[in-house]
């Protein structure tokens, strides 16, 4: 279900006829305040400082308030972008927040980590001739505006009449949180089971503090708790509870699986088990979830390398490289087997990493990790060149024979992707999987087990926060339909 009809018109609740006609400003895109690279690379505080009210109003004024806004179609959860920007223009910030929250349970998070440049902003009408409206920055500003309010004054989406149905959600990452928010709005009784000791999934263990402060994640989750969502941490579904027990012993009527793609992929090269070689998952979990950057005040240590090599070209690789810098590395290299153009990371993240001093080694792929006395001393890499496009549409990297060279380093972080963790599924034999071990689900998230839905990375493989949230919301509506269907 979408607020956009076939012709692309948005069903706005309030006619804006009485308001004075909006005259768009012709100013260039308003830059967001950022901490200087030298300063920020030395600590874990947030890099981007966001707009002030003045800057937000200036940027909102650039919006054309198009009759047929295209931006909304670019949003995976179809936020009514025109309406929330309209509210900023009119100084109605609370109303703006309410518009965001109709569609997105975590605006302060998405305002920070969504790849808007590929989504809403890419299809903004202004983008045809100039720079698009900074929709993401405006979303962030409104989200933060809401978080700055006392909890009782925050915009908490209205919760529907209790339906009496109990829904269980496995995993408290973006998919699970979005699903929980939507189910609570629809009046269902929601419990989230989280395997780690803190909720948030990748928002908590994966994305670093300097890009997404944990206080923001906690506040957004507090809002869900305010809506009546219960969160039970330290509960590993597949170990502490099985899917079957959730349905038949714990008495839940429907289940959403949003357990993510949490199994790290390694390179499979010699030397990978040397001390100083980390999966990005471990490196980031130690630093973000366990706060190893505060060691010894926090108990969990992390190996602080002087020369760190990060393998990979995605956002997780950028996060790892920038984290290594902040832990005090003298030099951080990022080795990627294609070129900067093919890198899946957001441009902004690549730019930030490069500004902070991360050195990019392109067309380079490790073939062996070298060590002495059990610890990493370097890696052997081979030069690559780009050949024919592969199934991803990107030109496939091919080894240049005899081009091996050594990079001296004492730490290697492997950030080449993740896969589905089989722990939950091993204990749920009825749940149908895809050939690659993900949960098989239709476009509404329905799985092979009646009443069990799934969405996010556990269905699609590793993707973005917002796509997972979109899947969580779609599944919530499908769950609602399933629960309300008397013939089930």
């Amino acid at each position: 279900m979408s607020a956009v009809d076939d012709s692309g018109n948005v069903a706005t609740p309030k006619p804006s006829a009485e308001k004075p006609r909006h005259k768009p400003s012709r100013e260039p895109r308003t830059p967001m305040r950022e901490r200087a690279a030298v300063e920020r690379a030395a600590d874990f505080d947030e890099v981007a400082l966001g707009y002030t009210e003045e800057l937000a109003v200036a940027e909102a004024a650039r919006c054309l308030q198009c009759k047929n806004p295209t931006c909304i179609e670019g949003c995976p959860v179809q936020i009514d972008i025109k309406a929330f920007i309209g509210h900023i223009i009119d100084g109605e910030y609370r109303e703006g927040v309410a518009v965001l929250k109709e569609r997105n349970a975590l605006p302060a998070v998405c305002g920070r980590v969504c790849p808007q440049e590929e989504q809403c902003e890419a299809v903004c009408v202004l983008a045809r001739k100039a720079e698009p409206v900074a929709i993401g920055r405006l979303e962030r500003w409104l989200g933060d505006y809401d978080l700055a309010c006392e909890l009782e004054h925050r915009c908490v989406p209205e919760v529907g009449e209790p339906t009496g149905f109990r829904c269980a959600i496995i995993g408290s990452g973006p998919a699970g949180l979005a699903c929980a928010g939507e189910l609570a709005r629809l009046g269902h009784d929601v419990t989230i089971f989280e395997s780690l000791h803190a909720p948030g999934g990748v928002l908590t263990y994966g994305i670093p503090e300097f890009r997404l402060p944990k206080a923001i994640v906690d506040s957004e989750i507090d809002m869900l708790v305010q809506m009546g969502v219960k969160i039970e941490c330290d509960t590993v579904v597949g170990a502490t509870l099985t899917l079957d027990e959730i349905l038949n012993v714990e008495g839940f009527d429907s289940v959403f699986i949003g357990s993510g793609a949490g199994l790290p992929v390694f390179l499979g090269v010699p030397g990978e088990n040397l001390n100083g070689v980390y999966s990005a998952n471990e490196f980031l979990t130690r630093v973000n979830l366990m706060r190893a950057y505060e060691f010894p005040r926090a108990d969990t240590p992390v190996w602080r390398g002087r020369r760190v090599a990060v393998i990979g070209g995605g956002n997780v690789a950028m996060d790892s490289a920038r984290t290594a810098l902040r832990l005090g590395a003298d030099e951080v290299f990022l080795a990627y087997r294609r070129t900067e153009q093919e890198m899946p990371a957001r441009r902004e993240e690549v730019h930030h990493a490069s500004e902070e001093g991360v050195q990019f080694k392109m067309l380079c792929s490790p073939v062996e990790i070298l060590g002495r006395d059990g610890f990493v001393t370097g890696l052997v890499a081979t030069r690559m060149e780009l050949g024919e496009p592969d199934e991803s549409g990107r030109r496939a990297p091919v080894c240049v024979m005899g081009s091996e060279f050594e990079i001296e380093c004492d730490t290697v972080v492997v950030a080449v992707g993740t896969r589905a963790n089989p722990l939950l599924m091993k204990a749920a034999p009825d749940l149908e999987l895809t050939g690659r071990g993900y949960v098989a689900a239709d476009e509404h998230g329905a799985t092979s087990v009646p009443g069990v839905f799934a969405g996010g990375d556990i269905v699609t493989g590793a993707a973005t926060v917002i796509l997972a949230m979109g899947a969580g919301k779609r599944s919530a509506r499908a769950m609602d339909g399933w629960l309300q269907n008397p013939d089930r």
Binding site: A198, C233, T235, F266, N273, G276, E282, F295, N421, P422
Partner: protein, 294 residues
């Protein structure tokens, strides 16, 4: 109250991990019981839990030594070696642990093993005990070899006696209890006499390495229960990777039990030492903190 204060915004969602049992087994070895009904319903021998003592705490894995599904508690045994186990040893009955999660890992295979020598070294006895018990209950023939550096570190001897294994041999390095020998001496005798079909060894990595070598010489298979460093314990981070037969496996989900003849013990021991410096620092900071409070 929790054992110590902290600064994290979220509690685990109303689940309370209250300490209901504490017993000091030696100067440095403790047994602790914690209320955890959901976990207690699921535990099988050979599995482990992960706990945090407080909100700044490290996640540490400990093997279940005992549990009661009916009464909803689980027990584990730990040696006071570093900051976390020090803090844990200061927790008392009625205190709450911040987190306890499990049961993790693949249970030990029991039931069709024939004659087994279960070897427990030091606090490894805490793993060996439920494993030996499960094997006996499943109809296997069990001999127990219990070893420690010195008599004071020998734990659960009475419990092992109570489950009536076919034989119970106690060894200490210094002869202060039982036979003055390493566990491998009686193990070798049993192997050579053709008295056992399988060995199950758990204890310090170096002990498991020698148990594996001893049994290999005699052509007796040997299962070892490994204790690599872990963070999440669910297969998410890969900190616990071990080489088994040239392949990388995750100790937390593929193990903790592996074929001892195929494990790369040198690598395991090297990986266990990666944070030695940090552990020392953490422990000395903690000791300072403790003496300040006195």
């Amino acid at each position: 109250m929790t054992c110590q204060g902290g600064n994290e915004a979220h509690d685990p969602g109303g689940i309370v991990f209250r300490i209901v049992h504490k017993r000091q087994l030696s100067d440095v070895v403790f047994e602790m019981g914690v209320e955890a009904p959901r976990v207690a319903r699921k535990v099988r021998a050979g599995q482990f839990l992960i706990l945090r003592v407080d909100r700044d705490g490290e996640r540490i894995p400990l093997t279940f030594s005992d549990w009661s599904a009916e009464e909803g508690w689980v027990r584990f045994i730990f040696m006071r070696v570093g900051k976390t186990t020090h803090a844990l040893s200061h927790c008392e009955i009625g205190d709450e642990l911040t987190d306890l999660v499990g049961p993790l890992g693949t249970p030990t295979h029991v039931g069709d093993l024939g004659r087994v020598a279960v070897v427990g070294g030091g606090v490894g006895a805490a793993v060996a005990y439920p494993v030996a018990r499960a094997m006996l209950e499943a109809g296997d023939d069990v001999s127990v070899i219990l070893g420690a550096r010195t008599a004071d570190l020998l734990v659960l001897e009475d419990e092992f006696r109570a489950i009536e294994p076919t034989r119970l041999v106690v060894t200490t390095d210094d002869g202060s209890a039982g036979v003055k020998a390493l566990v491998t001496t009686p193990l070798k005798e049993l192997c050579e006499a053709g008295e056992i079909d399988l060995a199950f060894a758990v204890g310090p990595a170096i002990m498991m390495k020698f148990c594996a070598a001893t049994t290999k010489e005699c052509g007796v298979p040997c299962i070892v229960s490994l204790n690599p460093i872990m963070v999440d314990g669910t297969g998410m981070c890969g900190a616990c990777r071990v080489s088994v037969g040239g392949e990388t496996r995750f100790g937390c989900v593929d193990g903790p039990d592996f074929d001892g003849h195929l494990v790369d013990f040198e690598e395991l021991m090297s990986r266990q030492r990666v944070y030695v410096e940090e552990e020392r620092l953490s422990d000395s900071e903690y000791s300072k903190e403790c003496s300040c409070r006195l």
